[in-house]
């Protein structure tokens, strides 16, 4: 019903109803296809909203204890920290430091010590990446847990609807053919050669499925492992993640991966044509490449 190629009919064509053929009668038509269901579009933007607030309130929460440890507890009488942010006064004035696996790097101005003039502060992450901008753990927690509920509810709604409408099976789970196409798809991406089709390419399938089925559930589960009450309900959480502090560390690493995904995602949208990509995730309609006519690609 929705995955058929359709010509612009006015619905969902966001006002741009002039067929391409009117511009160049020789070029084959680039059809508008219905690519994203309403479920995907609404949940996509709710994820974007909640991940934005989760990230910035999460960094606020992290700043209250700017160290990551491995194990059940934080080492005060022993050392099990793998990442620490700190500040110190030196002869050249205050400095900020980042220590990763025992190796310390001067990160003054960004990590450990940031701000300027009267706002110069010893804090792990700078004011411009935390909500609120000043140190306020209580508010950070209020915001974080609210959007954690939004994210979890949205994921559940998306999962149920996408299992029913076939989105998961049709668009996300990579098939054998997808895997065989992987090297070529990577090469195409590296050369900024994008295919505009109704279906996701292999890298899209793998990254979206990885985020939706691995990374986000991992974030939820490691988040729950940090809750002392949930540890009581599901004690195995402490075992599968190797302790509350390891879960906190994994939660932080997951955050880093989500940020990297976000950067890659936005860059890909910009590279593939931001107007068309945005239209498809706002209205559902996507202008695809002409149906595969023998159009020899250079060098192939």
């Amino acid at each position: 019903m929705t995955n058929e190629t359709e010509l612009p009919t006015g619905f969902g064509a966001s006002g741009n109803s002039t067929p391409e053929t009117a511009v160049d009668p020789v070029a084959p038509a680039r059809p508008l296809v219905y690519r994203q269901s309403a479920w995907t579009r609404v949940t996509h933007w709710l994820w974007a909203l909640s991940l934005f607030f989760l990230l910035l309130s999460g960094l606020q929460i992290f700043n209250a204890r700017p160290d990551l440890y491995i194990g059940q507890q934080s080492g005060f009488g022993f050392d099990n920290a793998i990442l620490s942010f700190s500040a110190a006064n030196t002869v050249q004035g205050p400095k900020g430091y980042t220590t990763l696996f025992g190796k310390t790097v001067d990160t003054t101005g960004v990590l450990g010590l940031s701000g300027s003039g009267e706002d110069l502060a010893a804090r792990a992450f700078p004011a411009w990446v935390t909500i609120p901008s000043y140190q306020d753990l209580a508010t950070g927690r209020v915001i974080h847990f609210f959007f954690a509920w939004v994210l979890a509810a949205t994921l559940l709604i998306w999962l149920v609807s996408s299992l029913i409408n076939g989105h998961v099976k049709r668009d996300l789970l990579p098939r054998g053919a997808d895997i065989r196409r992987l090297p070529r798809d990577i090469a195409d991406h590296l050369r900024f050669r994008f295919h505009h089709a109704r279906d996701y390419n292999v890298l899209q399938k793998l990254s979206y499925a990885g985020v939706l089925f691995i990374l986000l559930p991992l974030m939820i589960l490691t988040g729950l492992t940090m809750s002392p009450a949930m540890d009581t309900a599901f004690p195995f959480l402490l075992d599968i993640f190797g302790g509350r502090q390891t879960a906190r560390t994994i939660h932080f690493i997951g955050m880093t991966l989500l940020v990297l995904f976000f950067i890659a995602h936005v860059l890909m949208v910009l590279a593939a044509g931001p107007f068309n990509e945005l239209r498809s995730i706002v209205t559902g309609w996507y202008r695809a490449d002409p149906p595969a006519k023998p159009m020899p690609e250079p060098g192939e």
Binding site: W128, R141, F145, F146, P228
Partner: protein
Amino acid sequence: MAKFMLSRRKFLTSATIASSGLMLSGCDVFDALGDRDNAVRNFIEGANDLTYKAQRLLVGREALAREYPKSEIRQPQRPNGSTDPDDPQYRSLAASNFADYRFAIGGLVEKPLSFSLDELRNMPSRTQITRHDCVEGWSCIAEWTGVPLAHLLDQAKVKPEARYVVFKCLDTIEETLSGGIKYYESIDMIDARHPQTIMAYGLNGKPLPVANGAPLRCRVERQLGYKMAKYVKSIELTDSLAHFGDGKGGYWEDNGYDWYAGI
């Protein structure tokens, strides 16, 4: 080839514009959420009630927090908050090694009671090696010994209308223009009667040190550290938290933290 160069330039330009937009989105636009009376903040605080109800559904009343082997006690219990109260009443009690200290139970009970430290030590006791999780993010494992709170509540015979236990403490946590604010906290009857909720007088096999809340502190193992009031002087059974402090159920709650600290 020319086409490719063009699209790459276009790509880099748009990428730069997009990333500078991100940098400019500095987060002080959301600082109003830090205002405790902000309507949006009050709305999103409602998620904490949802968390409380969901966790009460998922976590059995009697489900125990994990207890660890002795080998996990690898360091002294890290003290936090007040660590050396200089309140005159506390100082004089500490000077006599808490010989004159009495722990009182009042409010909605049939039989208001008070106990000396020796009387508490002679009651049935429970020893547990548990993980203390601070709201800041750190954890520390230690062995706690004390009287189950349920045992004390049974002796005082709690009235059926009681909904909360309020802990009143001897330490001044904050000095304000209108005087010092004493630490206080509260839990519901489910946590109050939980087998691991104890009034602890021992830590790692020794009497509870001053830094960790001597002579008596609470342990509520299924919640965060700020629930576990130190330097407890008395408890009051109540049906409403409205007439304690600012009415939010605890010192940190009055400062914007969640009343339910199971998360």
